[in-house]
Amino acid sequence: MNPLLTLSAIVVITLLLIIFTRRGRNGRSVSLRPLSAVSSLSNQMGEAIESGRQVHISLGQAGLAGTAAPTSAAAIHILDHLAKDGCASGAPPLTTVGEGTLLPIAQDSLRGAHQAAGRLAAYKPGMAQFVAVETEPYAFAGGMAAVIQQNKASGNVMVGRFGPEIAITAEAAARQNMSQVIGTDDPSALAVATAVTDHVLIGEELFAAAAYLEGSPYQIASLQVQDILRTIIAIAILALAAYQLLTG
């Protein structure tokens, strides 16, 4: 692709993002369709606090230095939200990561949540656990299953980049009748997730979760920009299909 064309597209999308953010800050409200997975996240945290147990959250295996970094960045928003609620109530989430660069950011999220809750003394770096490297997905899945079983977690949240091996972890969680939320951008993992739980963040919904949980104007604006771009792409696909149909 021509670099100038790419740069132009970036500039246009950025301008749209800024315009919609300003409109949001001026008080223009947007209604979002309900996502059962997002509602389930809040319920899981509530159940964990009531039962005095912890929710397991995994950020997957996509490194922050790779092309799948946005997937992990979206997952970190969900960890931030769960950590904020959990640490305020003395039930920080059991956090596991499957890639080195995710560990410091997960630790930072938990430390920040403890600090915000005025419980910095209770924070320990080992609250976020590195389980396996990204080249060993089965070891990672088995490690997550062990964390869930040994710590008697109250719920299981897996958000980020996973493969079909999440079936191993999801099975371990299902055996303990846990409520599960799975959000990923990998189609094969999504197929497994659909079979395992009703609360699935399908692809783009993972990226939208932050807007549902935090509702900042710039997050809502990015959803609006996505909707506009999706409409343009859909029209372009239909127009091209019609053109090909007519011209043979």
């Binding site: 930072d108 040994q150 099975e171 497994v192």
Partner: protein, 206 residues
């Protein structure tokens, strides 16, 4: 500059430099991505130390046998890596990997089919919605189609309809769904990346 603004300024500056490098100056982007790769390697080392520290703590405080096995394995493999480097042993790490890690992972991978089968049954037990029934029917139909089309025992007039169904499902329904999914993911990734680039999202600044 305040404690929060410095990481933000660094992140935005390097984000834009990497973007410009990727678009116009490949050497600059290679240099920056090389630095990122080095930091990722350091992070991996920290990850391994975290794994060791967490399990050593569990072994000492909780007498956890599994953690003990993990710590012992790490120490043994580390020792083998040193003896390999000093030429006292030959391919020690590779041998351990091939004899223990590979069979264990292969066993887990082969169990995946059973986990998926159970997941399918759980789903039907959990919710008997039209979607769940369609999901299972499609899975069974595709499995049967693959089995029937792979065998030469069946006559062609029985095999061919299954082949056609399989082709229609794969080439039209699955491909269309996958493309829709990937377009949505790409759009989500683009807008999130721009938010990071503009400093609106700051996952590094807690």
């Amino acid at each position: 500059m305040s404690k929060r603004k410095l990481p933000l300024a660094i992140a935005i500056a390097f984000g834009f430099l990497t973007l410009l490098g990727l678009l116009f100056m490949p050497d600059l982007s290679h240099l920056l991505l090389g630095w990122a790769g080095f930091l990722a390697a350091v992070a991996l080392l920290l990850g391994v130390l975290n794994l060791l520290a967490v399990h050593f703590g569990r072994l000492v405080n909780g007498r956890n046998v599994y953690s003990g096995v993990l710590v012992l394995s790490m120490v043994v493999v580390f020792g083998l890596a040193i003896t390999d480097a000093l030429s006292i042993t030959e391919n020690g790490v590779t041998t351990v990997f091939n004899w223990i890690q590979v069979p264990l992972e292969t066993a887990l991978a082969s169990l995946l089919a059973f986990f998926l089968l159970f997941a399918g049954f759980y789903m039907l037990k959990r919710q008997r919605s039209p979607g769940a029934i369609l999901f299972l029917l499609t899975a069974v139909l595709l499995l049967l189609s693959q089995a029937f089309t792979a065998t030469t025992l069946l006559p062609a007039n029985i095999r061919d309809p299954f082949q056609q169904v399989q082709t229609i499902i794969n080439n039209i329904i699955v491909t269309a769904g996958m493309r829709g999914l990937l377009i949505g993911i790409a759009l989500g990734a683009i807008t999130l990346s721009l938010r990071l680039l503009l400093g609106l999202d700051q996952p590094y600044n807690k």
